[in-house]
Amino acid sequence: MAKKQYSFYPGCTSERKASAANYMVSVNAMCEKLNIKLNEIPDWNCCGASIGYAEGGELPRHVMNARNIALSEQHNPKQDIVATCAACWLGAKESSERLSASEQLLADTKEVLKEAGLDVQLKNETPIRHMVEVLIEDIGYEGIKEPMAKPLEGIKFAGYVGCQTNRPFGVDGESFENPMYLDKMVETVGGEAITNYERKVTCCGGALAFSEPEKSQVQIKDIIEAAYDQGADMIVTPCPVCQMNVEVYQGQINKTYNTKFNIPVTYYSQLLTVAYGGDIKQAGLDGNIIRAKRLEEIASK
């Protein structure tokens, strides 16, 4: 069957040797198995992230995203724009909504894009979507299950959805307070989901993990604690910022609160890749600072 084609917006963190490089690796492996073809938007730029507002203001932020959309419209016409990073998805989707809502903003944006000989249509021919939406809505849980070679039996996952993959747009019309899709995905590939995981949608601090580390680490501590309390072997998330924040600060948190946290934080794409028979490298498991041993065992079987 023909591959599903998407216009792909990888985002800064997914680049080689960037913080979510291993996410990208596993996404590629996953898409390979699911017959998904990702056509990278040529010369894409940063979305401005949620922290961009303070210095960047409004219009410049929209311009950043509009440029990506324009490039996508030009090079990957009529293809849905797909992002793997929550911030990239949100930034692009927000800009396209706001621009479509305000003639003024759109006109100004178009004027600026002229500088680069670009133009943006926003004819809703290229909806902006998260990879998770592609999996659930286009592939479907049945489809996700199909390529499965090694069910992730016996591993308990705390599905940590976080904020921006979930709010304000939501995925598949699911609840903002208690989304189930991540748990469903886990169960689809044979893992055990902690469906009532308490900190499913608790904020990890996002960008403020850099600027307000103490405050953010209080959040992160709760997220990890709940996972342990509810018996998780590892945490799984769809968001690179969540992944990084929850994974990399465990050492510091252990120092501050003398806890003994050492729980792996994985991506859904890593789970799927392993379930599809991918090895540690293909699944980017070598990219996890806290190695997901149980997953690696299955991967190397």
């Binding site: 800064c12 963190t13 680049e15 080689r16 040797k17 960037a18 913080s19 979510a20 490089a21 010369d43 894409w44 730029n45 940063c46 401005g48 992230a49 949620s50 922290i51 961009g52 507002y53 303070a54 210095e55 960047g56 203001g57 409004e58 219009l59 410049p60 929209h62 311009v63 950043m64 440029r67 003024q104 100004d108 944006t109 004027e111 600026v112 894009l113 500088e115 680069a116 904020c163 921006q164 709010r167 304000p168 903002f176 608790t202 904020c203 601090g205 996002g206 960008a207 403020l208 850099f210 600027s211 307000e212 405050k215 953010s216 990399v248 050492g251 510091q252 070598d286 990219g287 600072i289």
Partner: protein, 207 residues
Amino acid sequence: MNTLNTAMVEKYRNDFLKEVEENVEEGHWVKMCMQCGVCSGSCPFGPDWEHPPQEIFMMIRAGKRDEVLATESMWMCTSCYNCIVRCPRELPITHIMHGLANYAHRLGLAPKMNPTRRFAKIFWNNIAKTGRVNEMALSLKLYFMDGFASGVKKSLAMAGVGLGMLKTKRLNPFTLFRHKGVEKPKQLQAMLKKAKEIEDRRKGLAS
């Protein structure tokens, strides 16, 4: 900057609500708040807010310009969007907070030493330079923003993290010297400059 600030004071004769409506992203929503407080209760950094969103909206209506623009509160927003999805009046609170922060920053009234303000500035300049985030540069800039000594301290504290990232090839020291950004960074910078000019013109912020 301060001249710009006084200009604004002049222009709006202390009608702060009007000023916010015209100059702040999504500011025209402020008047729709009915003071239920659901946003204030929904914020993950809630306890760290000197004035929670709903109170800020009331302060704006009460004309408390200086207090609002000078508070650290808006800078506590983690963009988690809890407030937006729960607000019974559908106020885009997250964006209003961003808008207020940006406006205060723009007028030079935002708290100078607020770490998020400074990080945000560093971040934007970082991406504006090449069009893409240079994480190595970003983190170093961040650690050394308070000068070398504290920088070393912070980077030591963060050493574990950095090391882990390096080991797993998720942080690349060489990007300090040659970071891959967009093909024509100059052109992008020009675009952003122009965008800013237009925005300033629209909002009467041209100084």
